[in-house]
């Protein structure tokens, strides 16, 4: 286990930026800022313009850490407390889950909750509970 520092101001600032980006994407392109939907649509676009907006939004997201480095002089921390096997298993399950569930933290958790969508509220509560149980089981029962 890796201890992390409590960062309320940086996290609140990050959340506000995520919110501003979500509002701006709706205002400009009329789209939900959901990582799952934007990513999945990149591989089966309905047209070139459908592909291009997704591609540039994802490119912007990937450039995010580089801009942070430009201002702070260091890359944002990415500390991976789990094995490669767990990354692969977890990644695959996340992919299956978000496809059937129709969204993830950004789509359901931020945009859907902000729209007070019943599906998104139920999805968010469900995945939060499942994550709490999983982390407890993995860390404190199996002791990984």
């Amino acid at each position: 286990m890796i201890e992390t520092a409590f960062t309320p101001y940086a996290s609140l600032g990050g959340g506000i930026l995520i919110g501003l980006a979500s509002v701006a994407l709706m205002a400009v392109a009329g789209r939900i800022m959901g990582a799952t939907g934007i990513l999945a649509g990149l591989f089966q676009p309905s047209s070139f313009s459908d592909w291009s907006w997704r591609a540039v939004v994802v490119a912007g997201m990937i450039a995010g850490p580089l801009v942070v480095m430009l201002f702070t002089g260091e890359m944002p921390a990415v500390q991976v407390p789990v094995s490669t096997t767990m990354l692969i298993i977890g990644g695959f399950i996340v992919g299956v889950g978000v496809t059937f569930g129709g969204g993830c933290t950004s789509g359901h958790g931020v945009c859907g909750m902000a729209r007070i969508s019943p599906r998104s509220i139920v999805a968010t509560i469900t995945f939060m509970i499942a994550t709490i149980i999983t982390v407890y089981v993995v860390r404190h029962i199996f002791g990984v």
Binding site: Y9, A21, V57, V80
Partner: protein, 145 residues
């Protein structure tokens, strides 16, 4: 012009995810680890993002259409079904195992860390497998109908 603006929107999202701590699996897993190394920071990410989006959407969705498109592409379903709940539960299990969610992992790719590429590769494999299963299930349902 439109694409430059959309790139900047993605950039703001990526910066927000990065400084908020969502791109850091250790922070994510600690947020959910009440019995261990609990770090409540991510509640501030969620609260900031939802409040700003809630207020912003009130104004934006009053307009007849977005600034640079013909209509708003909003999900219309309001029913609760098994794929929504089972899929979301599975997402939570995977998130707890790996510590990355899709919105956290995409910006994290920019750090160039190999673990992020491994996670995103597995994520895409999961998405394609699920899409294949969905179309197989839809075919079977229409064959029975």
């Amino acid at each position: 012009m439109r694409l430059i603006l959309l790139f900047l929107i993605g950039l703001v999202f990526g910066v927000g995810i990065s400084i908020g701590g969502m791109a850091n699996p250790a922070k994510v897993v600690n947020f959910f680890d009440f019995a261990g190394t609990w770090d409540p920071s991510l509640i501030f990410v969620m609260a900031g993002a939802v409040v700003v989006t809630f207020i912003g959407y009130r104004f934006v969705l009053k307009r007849p259409a977005p600034i640079m498109d013909v209509k708003f592409y909003l999900p219309t379903r309001r029913d609760l079904d098994l794929p929504l709940i089972a899929g979301s539960a599975a997402f939570g299990v995977g998130w707890g195992i790996a510590g990355f969610c899709p919105g956290g992992a995409l910006p994290a790719l920019g750090t160039g860390r190999s673990e992020v590429f491994i996670f995103v590769g597995a994520l895409l494999a999961g998405i394609f497998t699920a899409k294949f299963l969905q179309s197989a299930l839809a075919k079977r349902a229409s064959a029975q109908a």
